[in-house]
């Protein structure tokens, strides 16, 4: 059975050209970029070329980019870095209640260390309210962090607008753009952000490499201490093949994004429409229009997400309950609860995320299989009965 992968938001397969670009750096060109000799200088050159490519993708200058081990480290770095470096100014951080765990748990760590954090609520579509942002600002606020688009429900937040508010209030502004970079246009200046997190494995690059954009002049404490790498902002021997792969992935994304957005938006809307038509008591989570081109998140009443997932997997369809990271957890998604869903509904959600190799046939197959799966599970659901 050919498997159908519809979990691109969790991670993407690597583009074959990316693997090809990486391979030489495992073998011949294996040098440590900090070494003065020719092996070292070769490696150094390759990461600087990659830096330019990634910077280009987000309209930044390459000196403003620091490579990290992934999106989570970028989020930790940005938030702890600003909080620690600007402690003399204040100890208050503003974020949203629909952030990725990498942001939420970092904020919770800071709360345990004496910082104050405001978690902004969202509306039924997952959107942060600009007035809430303004009202949350105090003279102790040093950072606002709101994600560009939700990995779970796909809603795209009003980042440029929040950027203007932050700028006016002279507060650093960070966005977690792990789900948008390479998928929709991202420009750090248009968005008005000071810090922006990325992860290569979400755009057909390798796992274990990401980057943090840091606007020139931003006061930031390093997160990983210990060496001169990355202009003293992030120590450790650089993951040269990973960084080269990220560069290649960024280059490819820039070329292919325009077409992909159109193609995926069409497929996405086919899937949404079909599912809502064919399965009753089903809702789309997240905003219908301000939404990632590749994200479908639905709640089917009376049935639980993991049991849908497993049934789909048995039919060769790979999807997710929203956030891969919390799939082993007992708690319902904090994101879906923030939208106002009941616990039953939040536990009954399913995310399909599409990508480069998704076809119309695959969408058709989901539309064929999922209604049967839901029917089977509803037949054994105690909730449906009590609902009748």
């Amino acid at each position: 059975m050919k498997r159908i992968y519809l979990d691109y938001a969790a991670t993407t397969p690597i583009h074959s050209e990316v693997v090809k670009a990486m391979l030489p750096y495992f073998t011949e060109a294996f040098g440590n970029p900090s070494s003065i000799h020719s092996y070292g200088q070769e490696a150094k050159g390759s990461i600087e070329e990659a830096r330019v490519k990634v910077a280009d993708l987000i309209g930044a200058r390459s000196e403003e980019l620091v490579f990290t081990s992934g999106g989570t480290e970028a989020d930790n770095f940005a938030i702890k870095g600003i909080a620690f470096a600007n402690e003399s100014k204040g100890n208050h951080i503003i974020t949203s209640s629909v952030e990725h765990h990498a942001v939420i748990e970092t904020c919770q760590f800071l709360e345990r260390r004496g910082f104050r954090v405001t978690y902004l609520p969202v509306d039924e579509y997952g959107l942060v309210d600009l007035d809430d942002v303004k009202k949350a600002i105090t003279d102790k606020t040093t950072l606002i962090s709101v994600m560009h688009a939700s990995n779970e429900m796909g809603t795209i937040e009003p980042i440029a607008e929040i950027g203007r508010i932050a700028k006016e209030a002279e507060i650093y502004f960070h966005t977690d753009a792990v789900q948008t970079v390479g998928h929709i246009p991202v420009d750090v200046n248009k968005l008005g952000v000071d810090l922006l997190s990325m992860s290569a494995h979400k755009l057909y690059g390798p796992k274990g490499v990401g980057a943090l954009y840091i606007r020139k002049g931003t006061k930031l404490t390093p997160f990983i201490h210990g060496g001169e790498q990355e202009r003293r902002r992030r120590a450790s021997t650089e993951n040269v093949p990973g960084i080269v792969g990220f560069g290649k992935a960024a280059e490819l994304a820039q070329h292919e994004m325009g077409e992909e957005v159109k193609r995926l938006t069409y497929l996405r809307d086919q899937l949404i429409k079909g599912l809502l038509e064919r399965i009753d008591h089903t809702r789309l989570n997240g905003h219908p229009l301000k939404r990632l081109p590749n994200n479908i998140n639905i709640s089917a009443d009376f049935v639980e997400g993991e049991s849908m997932l497993l049934n789909l997997d048995l039919e060769g369809i790979c999807a997710s309950t929203g956030s891969a990271c919390s799939s082993s957890s007992l708690e319902a998604s904090h994101v879906l609860l923030a939208l106002g869903l009941s616990h039953e509904q939040a536990h009954g959600s399913l995310r399909f995320s599409l990508g480069k190799w998704t076809t119309e046939e695959e969408i058709e197959r989901v539309l064929d299989v999922l209604p049967r799966v839901v029917a089977k599970l509803r037949a054994m659901s105690p909730l449906l009965k009590s609902h009748r």
Binding site: E304, S328, L330, A332, H343, E344, H347, S381, P382
Partner: protein, 135 residues
């Protein structure tokens, strides 16, 4: 590779794919209702008792793969058992009968045990009201 490391044992997956005893019993002698929506698992267990022996058991479950499989397994295990024997069925026994559960899913077996106990309690309560025996 899948098999070695997969989340669930083959036995769990088999019960998940083909759950036994799904549904309700009309006029059951006992109903157990456990779990809550916050945790994402809700189980209903129905039993039919004859001469102190559980002659039928059915379930309805909202929950993950393990919740469904443990529901299915516990209904299989109790059928034909006396009330006393049924009360001996521990969550570990259910999990073992399924060739184990991942640690994060052990609570499902606890839920299955509780559903069974709760159904038996319900049966006993009703029995007492009807002035029958029930230890």
């Amino acid at each position: 590779m899948r098999d070695v490391w997969s989340l669930y044992s083959d036995k769990v997956m088999e019960h998940f794919k083909n759950p036994r005893n799904v549904g309700e019993i009309e006029n059951p002698d006992g109903i157990g209702h456990v779990g809550n929506p916050v945790c994402g698992d809700i189980m209903e267990l129905y039993i039919k008792v004859n001469n102190n022996t559980i002659v039928d058991a059915r379930f309805k479950t909202f929950g993950c793969g393990a919740a469904i499989a443990t529901s299915s397994m516990v209904t299989e295990m109790v059928k034909g058992k006396s009330i006393e024997e049924a009360l001996e069925i521990s969550n570990r026994a259910v999990a073992e009968a399924l060739d184990g559960l991942p640690p994060i899913k052990m609570h499902c077996s606890v839920l299955a045990e509780e559903a069974l106990k709760s159904a038996i309690e319900d049966y006993c309560a009703k029995s007492k009201r009807r002035n029958n025996e029930c230890k």
